[in-house]
Symmetry: C2
């Protein structure tokens, strides 16, 4: 009886759940660092901007002696203050339309679970945030991608392309605006066209707008929550991670005027009791962040973007459209496999003791069979580092292609 | 086109996801409080014990200026220290066998997703922690309950009862030890019998041991991780919530020696990026909590338990077995519907300006059709409050039954 028994089989989901394409090269980066090489992390959207002081202070001044469960919907004081933040943006909702989640990640899993039955379909323009694949797998729902093209800067697909994909199983469209990984910012006109499709086919529109504070060149962010006529169809996914450079606190939100959806979200939230308590305190305090914090960040990111995109496009064979939002861009490289090249950068290359870590873009496409010569680049490093990283990349491509 | 369109249908899961039976009476409690009535919360396991000072200090001394993403598997320093904690308990594992989760809740959802395909079955002794129903629904898996009886103090069902339920679709047994909601502590002998079933039928054994520090009367906790011969079958679910009275930080863990399962857990963890950063810092610091903290809590809970169970059993028609672990008990009341009675307590009753909030036990049974005259009671209040609560209950039952 004490003989070790054979191992039970794990589920298909368990087998298929993909390793993060952003993180799977981490062991190679670690090994490079151990060899004394400086690695520029262009692979991950971890901002180097300080978290607002008001949020850090709130954590350091934590007064309670028991860190208790909070309300499943989120702290009431936080939800009320957050409603005012949305109101200022022109999103007309109350705190009752807001449920606080454990990051945007949990928000997306809950939204997919509530909008779609297992096997039903959600249309997503690709390339898309890689973890959408994982969230869809967790909810047992199918992603139907519409490929957008680097040549058109990843703009909104034509509405007829959406309509071609709509079947009786289609329940939702999932949009990320401003877009991770492309940096594309959808215009009001594009969103109004999308609204017509949503209304015509009675779909949910799940709108992931966690990068809304990052729009450049004077372009304005327009929220799907402002679209008239589809108020009950829209579910906003939000997160405090990027806005306040506090990715680690894991506090996001779901916002919807649809009472049935809100009620169901609450039940999902009750199952996991509450969102992180200390994180919610930081997030509430962060709402007092002065306007200058954002104007400085905005200026900084715009400069970084301008600097990086210019340098990238000067490298022979590299093409990179100018992103209008978020802090990512997709670049096409003159290589057969961006994944092989990215690993080679970490394993076999150095330029003056430095190298670059990239996120191969194929992981941002549904079937991982597109974008094989593309990489996602995050410009969350200081300009001198971005310049050095671009220089490394130039030398690396020259060496790799010889 | 600006006419409001009809609302799209939400998913079956979205409709069926139950409201928490522990929390659904909250609006009635809030209303009672607004009427000036003192409500004794026996319904929820929110300890009134202070969080260890070392954990609170770690939060208040948070030094970083950016709250960054952590490793998806959890902070390495925390995992290493946590491995030592398990080693001391006689659980022979390394930090590589540990993945840090967002509370025990996330741990359970991930474990069910990995062990079972949608539609497959997990056997769970009932009554069980009510959110197991929600977690199973999220993973799309079926709970097959084995009813345990208040008459036998909710002891382990006979092995032949397990075997009766095993079908080709059975993939796992889920056990909570010490048990929430019954307070039952499974003996080594009972667990070894269970091991034989697990080995014979090649099942996963998901062992939720978040209350291990709460065992009374000198009874010893024995972990499923210590069972010989089924090392690859056992997945331990853990949480820091109750151990350190910090339910709000949302930090738990999955522990398994099964490399394939651990790898898959990591992929689930990568999808949601990381567990709460500040919570992990508190959890790591909490491992330095001095032994006296636990011996005092242990003494306190044992006294509370003794006091409460004695008072309850003295009330005419009430029966309540003596729990050996956790800080819950199930009591049978002389009423037709514990749910109606619980609502009545909040809506229509008061004794000297006080009343009691209970958790109707039917929500802890799979089909909500058993335990209709039972309630779950948490003894997380101070003794004088427990005595007052028991007095309230005595008067309430007398009045209710007249």
């Amino acid at each position: 009886m004490y003989k070790k028994v054979s191992m039970p089989d794990i589920s298909e989901k368990g087998i298929r759940m993909p390793a993060s394409p952003i993180r799977k090269l981490v062991p190679y980066a670690d090994a490079a660092k151990e060899r004394g090489i400086k690695v520029y992390h262009l692979n991950i959207g971890q901002p180097d901007i300080a978290t607002p002081q008001t949020a850090l202070n709130a954590i350091r001044r934590y007064e309670n002696n028991i860190i208790e469960y909070g309300h499943s919907a989120g702290n009431l004081s936080y939800r009320k203050k957050l409603a005012k933040y949305y109101n200022k943006l022109g999103i007309d909702i109350s705190h009752e339309d807001i449920l606080i989640t454990t990051g945007g990640s949990e928000a997306l899993v809950i939204a997919l679970n509530i909008c779609l039955n297992p096997g039903e379909e959600v249309i997503v323009p690709e390339p898309f945030y890689t973890n959408y694949n994982s969230f869809a797998m967790q909810a047992g729902v199918k992603i139907k991608p519409i490929t957008t093209s680097i040549k058109s800067g990843f703009s909104m697909p034509l509405m007829k392309e959406f309509e071609k994909l709509i079947t009786p199983s289609t329940k939702a469209i999932l949009l990320c605006n401003p877009n991770n990984p492309t940096g594309y910012l959808y215009s009001r006109n594009e969103l109004e066209q999308l609204r017509d499709i949503v209304a015509k086919h009675n779909l949910f529109l799940i709108s992931d707008e966690v990068y809304r504070e990052f729009c450049y060149d004077g372009f304005e962010y327009y929220s799907c929550m402002e679209l008239k006529g589809i108020e009950d169809n829209v579910i906003l996914v939000d997160s405090t991670s990027k806005r306040y450079s506090m990715c680690g606190i894991r506090v996001g939100a779901l916002v919807t005027r649809n009472r049935q959806v809100a009620e169901s979200i609450l039940h999902f939230c009750q199952a996991r009791l509450c969102a992180p308590a200390i994180g919610q305190i930081a997030a509430e305090a962060a709402l007092d962040t002065p306007e200058e914090y954002f104007s400085e960040i905005h200026k900084e990111y715009q400069e970084r973007r301008n600097c990086l995109i210019e340098k990238l496009n000067k490298i022979e064979g590299v093409f990179c459209p100018m992103p209008k939002g978020a802090f990512y861009t997709i670049a096409r490289l003159p290589v057969d496999s961006a994944e092989d090249f990215s690993r080679w950068l970490l394993e076999d290359f150095e330029y003056q003791g430095q190298t670059v870590m990239l996120a191969p873009a194929s992981g941002f496409y549904h079937a991982n069979d597109r974008g094989i010569d593309e990489v996602r680049i995050a410009y969350v490093l200081q300009k001198p580092d971005l310049i050095n990283a671009a220089k490394c990349l130039k030398h690396a491509l020259r060496k790799y292609n010889n």
